[in-house]
Each structure stands twice: as C-alpha cells, then as structure tokens.
Amino acid sequence: MIRLEHISKTFRVGKNKIEALKDVSLEVNKGEIFGVIGFSGAGKSTLIRCINLLERPTNGKVFVEDRDVLTLNKKDLRKLRRKIGMIFQGYNLLETATVYENIATPLRLEGVSKDEIKQRAEKYLDIVGLTDRRNAFPSQLSGGQKQRVAIARALAHEPEILLSDEATSALDPNTTDAILELLLRVNKELGITIFLITHELNVIQRICDRVAVMENGKVVEQGSVVDVFTRPQQAMTKQFISNEAKFAIPVQLKGELLKTGKLVKLTFLGESSKDPVLATLAKQFDVLPSIIAGGIDQLKDQSVGNLLVHIKGDQSKVETAVKFLHEQDVLVEEVNE
C-alpha cells in the first residue's frame, strides 16, 4: 500500500545541514495499522510528511499503491492526496467554521456535489458520534471532540489511507483510549489502512499490527508489535518499553534480592501461560521462586504477561532452574544490578 525506499531528507538551517531522515525503508500493507514510534526529534513527523509529499524527500522513492509519488505532476498529486486522509496533533480545524462546515468545506472545494456532501458529512458525523454537535464551533469543543471532527473530515474524502501525526498526543488518557478505539473501528469497519506516528507506547500496544522504532532519523527496528515488544533487540526499543516502568523496583530491595538468589523477568505470550512453569521450578529443582511483580499488557490481538520472579536457593540449583526456564516457551531475561 505504502512503500518507502531509502528515503533521506536533509534540511538546511543557515549553514548547517540537518539530516532528519537517513535511508529509511519500510512497507505498509493494505488493511493494517502501522505505527512508527520514537522520541521527539527522531524524524517521525518528517517521515509521515514524505508520504503525501508535504515534505519532499531529498533522496529515495515513495510508492503509494505502486505509484511513484515523486513523479506525479501537481494535479495528480492533489488527486492522490484526496485518497490519503491526514489527522494532526493540533486538529487543524477552521476556527471560523462549524463542525459541519469543517467537514463540508474541503469537499465543496473539491467540487463534490451538494447532495453527496450532505450525505457524507452526516454519515461521518454519525460515525465519530458528533451529530448533535454539528453546529458547534471548534472553540466550544473539547480536544477529543475536535479530533473526532478532524477524523470525520479526513474520512469524508473516503480515503484508502489515513495518516495520523501524533493524533492523540495532546489528549488525556481516557480521551486517547476513545480516539484509539475509533481509529481501530475505522480500520476494521471501513478497511482503511492507517499509518501513524507517536511517542506513546500505549498507542502502539493498543492498535498497531506492526511497528517501526525510530532514532536519529533511522529506523532501528521493525516488525510485528508482539515481536518487538517481547523481544526488543535495540537499546532504543528496550528503553521505550522499560520507560513504561513496569518493574521499577527500589534499588535497595533489588540489592537484597540479588544477594539471596537470581532475579528473572519472564514474558509469557498468549498460549504459553497455561503451563505451570513456576510450580515445576519449585518441584523439580528445589528452589524457591517468588513473584515480586507482574502484569499483563493487552496488545491488539494478543496479551503479554510479564513476571518479575526471584529464585532463591543454592547457586548451582538456581543456575539449572534458570537454564530450564530458557528451554521453556517463555522469554527469560535475567535482571542484574
């Protein structure tokens, strides 16, 4: 659906060159939700703007449905953009127009017929649940409602792709959840492919099928969300995931626990959580496993369980126990200092 090949983008600021993107390649499949995560300044915003050419990449190729976007003339580019909806962190609505007009105006400017505009505006107002606020002005709406208007505006063009530029970053957690729920519905019910960028891990967890992690203008890791989550390869990705501070146990406690045994982080994926691994450990290896902390992360279609376990016992016995764990269908990560 979307294919970026060796994209790079260099900005000139005075005499300095800033490389916002360095040889980025990725592919988004039809019907999926693809997320790009990274801290601010990683180049995510530039990347998403290269898809509909709000930014032109310095090098590389951009394909949307196998059409080489960079070779399109102005008119064809405008046509293509109509098939790619975009929503933004700042909503970007007309302040002087009502909710209804905000959805209808772009359609009118494109020459869509009056009846069609009315029908579409009403349809998408209903989908985002704002039919009763149609005559309100943006200043009378909450952030979440404004983002819904922006989503309706984007959907009213009946696009095949929706680009989301930090759409939930300015919203509180509850509103974020509601907007993510809406995006998920848009993806499932309308079959729209979604490409989103975010700095919130939660967004990736909740709705994305695949993810790319960006750092300093490069994609450092990409793959299915479950894989990247449970087996993060890059320091950057680990940092992101541990930033969620799941098992931030006090240093003093950690020190004490390490004196009497080993600390391991166990990650269970969906089905593997059935076997009683810890019980087996105690029975077969004569060690004392105790759970220090734990939790379950709900990914889009899979749950991931995490346990921080302290294994107490003779050093040699503990070693064999950990070895056993490694052989099971569980991800094991030893926690040191």
Binding site: N52, L54, L77, R78, K79, L80, R81, R82, I84, G85, M86, F88, G90, Y91, N92, L93, L94, E95, T96, A97, T105, P106, L109, E110, F137, P138, S139, Q140, A150, R153, A154, H157, L163
Partner: protein, 220 residues
C-alpha cells in the same frame, strides 16, 4: 445654532459627501491592489507556499519605500503620475490616485499581519487534502483571518479619512479642506470646531462598526 446651520449646513454636507466619496473610492481601489500584495507577501516569504526571496524582497521594499513618504509630499511628488493616469491632478479624481498609492501598501501590510496569524496547521491540513493554493488562500487563509482583516481595514479607513484632509491642496474639497479654508485661513473657528466634531463622530462610528463586524466574524 440655527443661524450657523443655515449658513454652513450646505457647505458642511457637501464637504462630508466629498470626504465620503474620496474615502470609499480610494478604499475600494486600495483593497483591490493591497489584498493581492498582502497575499503575495504571505506566499513568497520564507517557508511560504511560493517561497521566493526575490519577489518578497521587491514587494517588501517597495511597500516600505512608499510608506516612508509622508502623504502631503507623496501628493505633490505624484502629480505627473496622477496626470498620466486620470488625466487631471485636481479635484476628487486627482486626489484618488495619491490616496490609493499611499493606502494600498498600508492595507497590504495590515492584511499581511492578519493573514500571518492563521495557523500553519490548518493550511497544511488543506494541502494534505489536495486543495489547490488559490482555494486555500481564499477559503482558508482569508476566511480564517477575516476578523483581523476587518480590524485592519477599519484602521486603514480612519487613516484615509485623515489623509483626505490634505486633498484641499489639489482642490478636491472635503471636511479637512473646509476646516482649513474657513476655520483657519478665514479665521472662523466655529467652522473648524463643527468639522472636528463631525470627524470625531465619523471615526467613532467607523471604529464601532469595524469592531462589531470583526466580533461577529470571529465566532469563537
């Protein structure tokens, strides 16, 4: 009071009509020239949609140059130009040209400021929807800036009313000329006072209407 009105009422009314004429006609032409110039300034500036340093520098300097010259001097300086454009240098016709030359760049500047306030994000959103730049200018930039544009035009109108006072030098009449000719030259201060009061009332009304319209258009 009745005597005064009998004696001066006609002249004051006539002068009022002349001032109104000069102001409105010049305003119309100034908007016709100033609005495109203002739009050009917004589009050609750095990171604008038509980023073009040369065009921007030319328009920008031209506006600064014209705005540096006091109107009274511009009026005389432009005499040959006025003659070539409208065929005369006197009367209402003769004063419209210098008024427009003075006012159009001013309006361009005021509208530029108003349009720069429009959020870049909305413009970007419309670009992302495949809307062409001319449509974005009218339906997004000017639409969103309309409240500030009206306030800017209100300032321009009041400035114009002031400048028409100098129209007397080319025989165009008007309230300012009346106050000068009779009030000052012929030493009849009551005429001057009457004109001043009328001017104050006009300016108050223009500003109030401008504020009202701007508020109505703001919608937030």
């Amino acid at each position: 009071m009745a005597n005064f009105l009998n004696e001066w009422g006609g002249s004051i009314w006539e002068a009022f009509i002349q001032t109104t004429q000069m102001t409105l006609i010049s305003l119309a032409f100034s908007i016709l020239i100033g609005l495109p110039l203002g739009v050009l300034l917004v589009l050609t500036r750095k990171n604008g949609q038509w980023d073009n340093p040369i065009a921007f520098t030319i328009v920008n300097s031209l506006i600064n140059v014209i705005r540096s010259v006091p109107f009274i001097i511009l009026l005389f300086f432009l005499l040959p130009f006025t003659k070539s454009v409208v065929g005369t240098t006197i009367g209402v016709k003769g004063v419209i040209v210098p008024l427009v030359v003075a006012c159009a760049p001013y309006i361009a500047r005021l509208l530029e400021t108003a349009m720069l306030e429009v959020s870049k994000g909305v413009i970007e959103a419309y670009q992302s929807m495949g809307i062409s730049t001319p449509k974005i200018i009218w339906h997004v930039i000017i639409r969103e800036a309309r409240s500030s544009i009206i306030l800017g035009l209100t300032i321009a109108i009041i400035g114009l009313i002031g400048e028409t006072a100098m129209a007397g030098f080319v025989g165009a009449g008007g309230l300012g000329d009346l106050a000068y000719q009779f009030g000052y030259v012929r030493f009849q201060p009551d005429v001057m006072y009457a004109v001043i009061i009328i001017l104050i009332i006009i300016v108050q009304i223009v500003q109030s209407i401008g504020n009202l319209i701007a508020r109505r258009l703001k919608k937030n």
